[in-house]
């Protein structure tokens, strides 16, 4: 597997080519470079995966050192890639889903004047994301981590002429930076305590140096969790993701649904040894996940903008993954990450097709009746929505979410409380998903269709729709065939979830409850949101008190809270310090020099005789000093 370095190098080359030729290439060549580099990378990932699986189970990991990155004092870092099954799964998702989203973008962005810039940023993103997951040491991971953050910034603000997009991009950058700082401090702490940053060494040393429940381990785990929370838009740093929808829709699909936001989940899974040392950190992770999934779910219920519904839904689904991580259901979290990448990317791409077809309309209340106008998009969206709502038996979302919900109850770290939250979340999920479904596709036509999606846009939809259905059969519960292909693959790098034996007997019952909840949610959505004959589908959520709706629409008032807590005090401080108090000291020194200059220049009056006076008096003074002092 010596070609491993080519996998991130190809998209990086694509980025360099597109960025350096500065939009001078013709569009077909840009498409070829942009899509081809990711496609080539995907082919190589598949090849590497086959090669790797052939060597299993003899070799469970593979490290490839390229060169020494830095060697300072006791710190030795290599530019090296580390591959195990978790990495492979992430790489397959990034390049596979990434390839189809790139392909889709050739249709979606076809009329944009900054076509090459778009693909340059997208390629750079894929390269950075691959470095993130393939990194052998934490600083290299951090490099990828910041790289994807940068690309997220560039792509959210892609249409930079609109000021609001620039603000959204800046907000995303600043808010995630809060988490990144915590993560950096966590890395310093790990190095300080363990003397290495190589991921596998760090983990094995942590397990030997720190006892179970040690305070240092808890602190390190919580700091890393801070980074994950920022990147994955969990409470309390979730506010950036809904605004990140300002970017083009393929960006939302790739970065803000399928890959970058799952980096937090990947980080925690990668450092699971550290988290398992600290029950407190695990509980905090689970509680954050549970709180986020409920909060975001209710917010999604009242949004008007189709992309914001999907954004809140992404936050909510990431909450499920954090809940799974928190209860030690590692494989379930990664499994949901994969299926979520498929169906959420699909939903975003469908939403993009709808927005594209309607000429930029994003308000669901001005959509409707698209079932017959965009049949293929409708069926694809229906598949994605069913998967998101966990329609039993046939969708991938059912298997992955059910696994999380079940293990949230059956794991010794979980319990009835987490299960209940997850079930309420599941109900809300199917409710908002099918609200979106019916508002968009059913009822009377409100906006005419301008551009039906072309082939480059429909092919990715079909592929992702098939994946959203079939991916679930990699892993089915014991009661439904008991296929464990996915988790047994991951068990070479992630520990198996220990289930509480007393609870295991009820698995069938809990699955039926979960299935009924999902179906019940869909049925309830039908009752509430189905297009009433003649009338437009007026938001039946208006039965909720108006104030509550507004509260949820604004994402539980977090923006206002942060505005009051941080932004305004900071602005007030900046306003107070407009003339820079500290600078006064330095400008005083400059002022002193300048006035000294003015006084001394008075003596340069051009009068020769006064100079002679000066010389004479000076000489006299020197003589006086030499003789008498």
């Amino acid at each position: 597997m010596d070609f491993l370095w080519l996998i991130p190098a190809l998209p990086l080359t694509g980025f360099l080519v597109l960025a350096l030729t500065a939009q001078r290439l013709s569009r077909p060549i840009v498409s070829l470079v942009g899509v081809g580099s990711v496609g080539g990378s995907a082919v190589m990932v598949a090849w590497a995966a086959v090669d790797f699986l052939r060597r299993m189970p003899g070799e469970t990991s593979y490290t490839k050192k390229l060169w020494t990155w830095m060697d300072v004092g006791g710190l030795h870092l290599d530019m090296a890639f580390y591959i195990d099954t978790l990495t492979l799964v992430m790489m397959l998702v990034i390049t596979g889903v990434g390839f189809f989203i790139h392909l889709y973008s050739t249709g979606y962005m076809a009329e944009d004047k900054d076509y090459a810039r778009f693909f340059a940023c997208m390629n750079l993103f894929v390269a950075a994301m691959l470095i993130l997951v393939m990194a052998e040491n934490l600083p290299l991971l951090y490099l990828g981590w910041e790289g994807v953050g940068l690309c997220s910034y560039l792509l959210i603000g892609f249409w930079y002429t609109d000021k609001a997009n620039g603000y959204a991009a800046r907000k995303a950058f600043v808010v995630t930076r809060v988490g990144d700082t915590a993560m950096a401090v966590g890395l310093f702490l790990l190095y300080n305590q363990l003397g290495t940053l190589q991921i596998q060494d760090t983990m094995s040393r942590a397990a030997t140096v720190w006892p179970q429940g040690s305070a240092t381990a808890t602190l390190a785990a919580l700091l890393l969790l801070g980074g994950a929370v920022g990147k994955s838009a969990q409470l309390p740093l979730q506010t950036w993701l809904p605004d990140a929808m300002a970017g083009p829709t393929p960006v939302s699909a790739l970065i803000h649904a399928a890959t970058m936001v799952t980096a937090g989940v990947y980080l925690i899974a990668r450092t699971h040894v550290l988290f398992m040392l600290s029950p407190l950190a695990m509980t905090v992770t689970a509680v954050i996940g549970a709180a986020t999934l409920l909060m975001a779910g209710f917010s999604a219920l009242v949004q008007h903008d189709i992309k914001r519904v999907l954004a809140y839904s992404t936050i909510s689904q990431l909450g499920y993954m954090f809940l799974a991580l928190g209860v030690g259901a590692w494989s379930a979290a990664v499994f949901h990450l994969v299926t979520h990448a498929f169906f959420k990317a699909l939903l975003f791409l469908c939403a993009g097709a709808v927005i594209h077809a309607l000429g930029g309309e994003q308000d669901m209340f001005r959509m409707g009746g698209l079932k017959d106008r965009l049949p293929l998009t409708f069926w694809a969206f229906l598949t994605g929505a069913s998967s998101l709502a966990a329609l039993p038996l046939i969708t991938a979302g059912f298997y992955s979410k059910d696994m999380i919900i079940w293990e949230a109850y059956a794991s010794p770290l979980g319990g009835m409380g987490f299960w209940l939250v997850a079930m309420i979340g599941a109900l809300v999920t199917s409710l908002y998903t099918f609200r979106m479904m019916w508002l968009t596709f059913a009822g009377p036509v409100k906006t005419p269709v301008h551009h039906p999606p072309g082939l480059s846009m429909t092919v990715p939809l079909v592929v992702l729709a098939v994946l959203s259905l079939l991916a679930g059969f990699m892993e089915t519960p014991r009661t439904l065939g008991g296929i464990h292909a996915f988790s047994s693959l991951l068990h070479s790098c992630l520990p198996e979830t220990v289930l509480d034996h007393g609870r295991e007997a009820h698995e069938m019952l809990f699955e039926i409850i979960a299935a009924v909840t999902a179906l019940g949610g869909i049925a309830w959505a039908w009752v509430l949101y189905r297009p009433k004959d003649g009338s437009t589908a007026e938001s039946p959520a208006s039965r909720l008190p108006k104030s509550l709706q507004r509260f949820w629409l604004g994402g539980w008032g977090f923006d206002g809270l942060y505005d009051r807590l941080f932004v305004r005090p900071y602005l007030a401080l900046a306003h107070f310090d407009k003339n820079d108090v500290i600078d006064r000291v330095f400008s005083a020194i400059a002022q002193l020099g300048r006035s000294g200059h003015r006084v001394l220049s008075l003596t340069q009056n051009g009068q020769l005789r006064s100079y002679i006076w000066g010389i004479g008096l000076g000489a006299a003074a020197v003589v006086f000093m030499v003789v008498y002092l």
Partner: protein
């Protein structure tokens, strides 16, 4: 031979020097300033000669020869400056030539 005490010679040199300096300081006419400078040169030369006589060395008189040469060079440059000044400023008043100020 009548010997003059060294202190007398030096005192005379000092008095001539001060006279020259005062001339340079108080006169505004550039020609008088040049004259004052000549007097100061000669005072310094006198001090050298007196000192040479005191130590019985010829160095003092040699220095005086140097000073004479320097004074001659100085006067030629000085007179050139006087011509330039008259040509440009139409005056000999040194206080009028104050163009170079900070």
């Amino acid at each position: 031979m009548l010997t003059i005490p060294t202190s007398h010679g030096l005192l005379l040199a000092g008095i001539i020097f001060i006279l020259g300096l005062v001339c340079v300081l108080v006169r505004r006419n550039i020609i008088f300033i040049l004259l004052g400078l000549e007097i100061m040169f000669n005072a310094a030369g006198l001090a050298f000669v007196v000192a040479g006589a005191k130590w019985g060395q010829p160095d003092g008189q040699i220095m005086f020869l140097f000073i004479l040469t320097t004074a001659a060079a100085e006067v030629s440059i000085g007179l050139a400056l006087v011509f330039g000044m008259v040509h440009h400023l139409h005056t000999l008043d040194i206080d009028q030539a104050d163009g170079m100020k900070g």
